[in-house]
């Protein structure tokens, strides 16, 4: 019977060997693509005639927002893998993805805010997209807070965080629709959102003006570079987490051994 890749990697030792092989290549690819992307963004892409150089923020802002969402998808998929397939590395993956996804979400919020100052004249606008990214950030905080509060029982913390992640992911479409509204013209679906209520005309639409290729290509290269960076960091964080758990279990064994050594000689094991 052939095993799938995820089944093979269920063995942590095999995963460590595999990731040690994959890590340098991923890191190198991320470095190369990000270097090209940033060069394109700063020296090749044209300066916007209205926004000037502030348009360059987009090359960090958009990939960060995308990775914030993808990070949550990784957490949710890992949670599903933990609760349904009981994959031993799923909890490690979910835990490792949390701070990275939260950091990118935070980066998206900060760059959006900095971009908002010259664009809108204020650091924060209750724009529909900004708001739903902010709520995504809160969901990350909730997951990390739950893990932290249960840190004395990590197996339980992983399972409960997985329950919360899956519940949140099920409610996430409702959050998005309630904030941003939903419009699928060819199905005749038109649901008002919180923001569309106040300013229906100024909402950024997905079918809005197409981005010019001279900006689109650098943006896509940066998005790819940031995605590679995400997976490099995620893999590294997973390796660190596995090593940390090994150290913890070695420590626990050492403590147990020294406790045994200190017991009264001749006393049968387990009598205390």
């Amino acid at each position: 019977m052939t095993q799938s890749l995820t089944q093979k990697l269920a063995n942590p030792t095999r995963f460590m060997a595999f990731s040690a092989w994959l890590m340098p290549m991923l890191a190198a690819a991320a470095t190369v693509v990000l270097t090209i992307g940033m060069y394109q963004a700063f020296f090749v892409a044209p300066v916007d005639y209205q926004q000037g150089h502030t348009v360059k923020i987009m090359f960090v802002h958009v990939p960060s927002a995308w990775l914030g969402m993808m990070g949550y998808a990784v957490v949710a998929a890992s949670s599903f893998g933990l609760l349904v397939f009981r994959h031993p590395l799923a909890d490690v993956s979910a835990k490792a993805a949390l701070p990275i996804g939260a950091a990118f979400t935070f980066l998206a919020l900060v760059t959006g805010s900095l971009w908002g100052k010259p664009m809108w004249g204020t650091y924060w606008v209750w724009d529909a997209r900004l708001t739903s990214v902010l709520i995504l950030f809160f969901l990350y905080i909730g997951l990390m807070a739950l893990r932290d509060a249960l840190s004395d029982d990590e197996a339980l913390a992983g399972k409960l965080a997985a329950v919360l992640a899956l519940v949140s992911v099920a409610i996430l479409p409702f959050i998005r629709i309630s904030v941003e509204g939903m419009s699928i013209p060819w199905l005749g679906i038109e649901i008002a959102g919180w923001n569309t209520l106040h300013q229906p005309s100024s909402v950024i639409r997905s079918d809005g003006p197409a981005i010019h290729p001279s900006i689109l290509y650098p943006l896509l290269i940066n998005a790819l570079g940031f995605t590679l960076l995400f997976f490099t960091l995620h893999l590294k964080a997973m390796r660190n987490e596995i090593l940390r758990r090994r150290v913890a279990s070695l420590r626990a064994k050492a403590v147990a051994r020294s406790a045994d050594a200190g017991s009264v000689p001749g006393e049968p094991e387990g009598s205390r």
């Binding site: 609760l83 709520i135 809160f138 969901l139 905080i141 909730g142 807070a145 739950l146 509060a149 249960l150 029982d153 339980l156 399972k159 409960l160 329950v163 919360l164 899956l166 519940v167 949140s168 099920a170 409610i171 409702f174 959050i175 629709i177 309630s178 904030v179 649901i191 008002a192 959102g193 919180w194 209520l197």
Partner: protein, 222 residues
């Protein structure tokens, strides 16, 4: 079904005999509503405009207070394990508990909200739609809250944690409640569709709350 009814009856009876919880929640509700004019200023026009949103937020926070005890008391004295070992599926148990929480907290607070609205210069014509949104929306508070209560059963600093975990999940309920009210206050609006969305979200949370909280409890009793 009879086990479900018996459990629901037990929860209601416990809440009734220990009436202090509802009183405390009401006191909190009243104080938070009072804080809005104190913080913003006694401008009646402004207060009237923010009244529905303020009442919704104050009610959310007041209902949140009592959530932590939904399973904690039964977990402490061991009756939760007895209930889990009983004939009732854990999902039905959670449903009974959350339903009891709604009946003893959500409904009374919702009924009191229009009265407290008088403090905020709430327009009398807005009261029916406010009450409707609160009654349709508050079950979601109890059922999402059940997930939070179940998840924090063993956690340190459960009280604060539960708010951080579940308040973001209340966003759709809050927004559609507010949108339905706004549609009535400023006429060119569609209150019916917002109410429908509100009801849909409540029904959805009833399902996901029952299964999510049951899963969380199951993992902790293993």
């Amino acid at each position: 079904m009879s086990a479900f009814r018996a459990l629901l009856g037990r929860e209601l009876q416990l809440a009734w005999r220990d009436g202090g919880a509802l009183g405390t929640a009401f006191g909190f509700f009243l104080i938070v509503v009072t804080l809005f004019p104190l913080g913003i200023g006694p401008d009646l026009k402004l207060l009237g405009r923010i009244a529905p949103g303020s009442l919704w937020i104050a009610l959310l926070l007041a209902a949140l207070l009592s959530l932590g005890r939904m399973f904690a008391r039964d977990a402490e004295d061991g009756s939760l394990e007895a209930l889990v070992a009983g004939p009732l599926p854990l999902e039905a148990l959670v449903t009974a508990k959350a339903l009891a929480h709604w009946l003893t907290t959500g409904v009374p607070l919702a009924l009191g909200a229009p009265v407290l609205g008088l403090l905020l210069n709430l327009d009398v014509g807005t009261m029916p739609i406010l009450l409707a949104t609160l009654l349709i929306g508050t079950p979601a508070i109890s059922f999402i809250g059940a997930i939070g209560a179940a998840l924090t059963l063993r956690a340190r600093r459960g009280g604060l944690l539960i708010a951080v975990l579940i308040l973001p999940l209340y966003v759709p309920t809050l927004l559609y409640g507010i949108m339905a009210i706004a549609a009535v206050v400023t006429p060119p609006g569609d209150a019916a569709s917002s109410l429908t969305m509100l009801a849909a979200i409540t029904l959805f949370t009833m399902v996901i709350g029952a299964f999510g909280a049951a899963a969380a409890i199951r993992y902790q009793l293993q």
